[in-house]
């Protein structure tokens, strides 16, 4: 339970950060989505600060890369993201994270 609580708290904190980011982000920054990137919003919908699953749009790229690496090597508790993260290489993850960070 402690494990889950930590995940949830982290999700909550990041959501607050995202709300701030969204307001300062230029609206036009989009670009072509790298492979895999558009699937994320199926669960990680943008713009809802109290969502159980944290939004990723506008979140710092390096945070997403670090989280995915930790999901892959099992250092970060997960229900499903460990299984998803293993489907992407470091290079693919960096491209996805960079694109997500630029989304409004």
């Amino acid at each position: 339970m402690a494990r889950l609580a930590s995940v949830l708290t982290m999700g909550g904190m990041m959501s607050v950060a995202v709300v701030v980011m969204v307001k300062t982000m230029p609206a036009a920054a989009q670009g072509v989505a790298p492979p895999g990137a558009t699937s994320c919003s199926g669960c990680h919908g943008p713009g809802v600060s109290d969502a159980a699953v944290p939004p990723l749009h506008g979140r710092p790229s390096e945070e997403i890369v670090a989280a995915m690496q930790e999901y892959r090597n099992g250092r970060r508790p997960a229900t499903v993201m460990d299984r998803v993260a293993k489907g992407f290489t470091d290079e693919e993850t960096r491209a996805i994270a960079s694109w997500l960070s630029q989304q409004p």
């Binding site: 492979p35 558009t38 699937s39 199926g42 499903v80 299984r83």
Partner: protein
Amino acid sequence: MSLAFTRRALLKTAAAGAAAAALSRRTAAQASGRVVVVGGGFGGATCARELKRKGLAVTLVEANAVYTACPFSNAVLAGLRPIETQQFNLDAVEKEGIAIIRQRAVRADPQARRVVLEDGSSQDYDRLVLSPGIDIRFDALPGYDEAAAGTMPHAWKAGEQTILLRRQLEAMDDGGTFVMVAPANPFRCPPGPYERASLIAHYFKTHKPRSKLLILDAKDSFSKQRLFQAAWQELYPGMIEWVSLSSGGKVIEVDAKTRTLVTDFGRHTGDVVNVIPPQRAGQIAQAGGAADRTGWCPIDPVTFESRLQPNVHVIGDASIAGGMPKSAFSANAQGKVCAAAVASLLRGEAPAEPKLINTCYSLVAPDYGISVAGVYNPRNGVLTDVEGAGGTSPVSAPPSFRAQEAVYAEAWFQTIAREVYG
């Protein structure tokens, strides 16, 4: 459907027709970029919005004014949520500038690049995206025709059928038997029958505890099987009996009048009978020549373009998407990838090789969720599971883990509904 509703739909059709005519004139000047999407479900509505955001002129053809979503409709059957929470309309899609035609598409002519609608009018396109979902095959299981579905509902297209099956479950006496007929692969929502059995077992346990469930299956294994069966033993001991294909589970004939199910080994009757029959790609895919002998649509895994018809793309349940299951999550992910590919093709560029994710949650009880996930990319012309990724929730996990996945299941539904219809 009420009269007022129909009138409103007609008025909107007239408005959409005018909008579509305006779009035609504009795209004629641009000489390209006209896309017609058929089907306003999770795949089609997603794809239409993505195409529009890429600057293309998009027309969405969808006959139903209200879309009733299948994911979570098993919770409606179990009395855990009202059907209204499953219902969405295309108002937000229309506001985005997409012309909506509230009619059925009856035919496609890929040579002329034209879709014919039920009133005889037609829509020209540069690219056509079909997202018609499934049709029930009323010719596949002897005795199971449309009339039989009024007695033994399939409830595999959410809406009236869901309400009918719910009413039957409510009316059933404690101590009754619910029988489900589960189909062979492939079919919409592979874990769906077993989630349904789980949630109906939950309803029985809490309201009609002497009742039983029997699943007659045309398969020897099913999605998330170990997780479901372990959970049934834990939560609903002795309530659910699953009869596999090799144990005589395949139903070869039904009699709706007596609610009798015939197998090679005997006959079964139930107080409530749910027949989930064989399925195929929706009618327009058949009429447009995009479906093969299996009834489903072979596609190029990079662009979702039909292997059978040029300039026609097929996404969602209707497509043969290799390792990707027929799920709303898959349809949504495919809708976005297909939109990107269509935009590239219309610009004369080579579409990028995609990667797609699917995550399917199932509820075994309101606070007990399980999932299967996968990551897919094209390999040898087929969407293939990326090795080392994906799989199901762990077979052994603490209750907090199951509770968390139940929370994520609900969160997923809210998120995807907002992305597609919000």
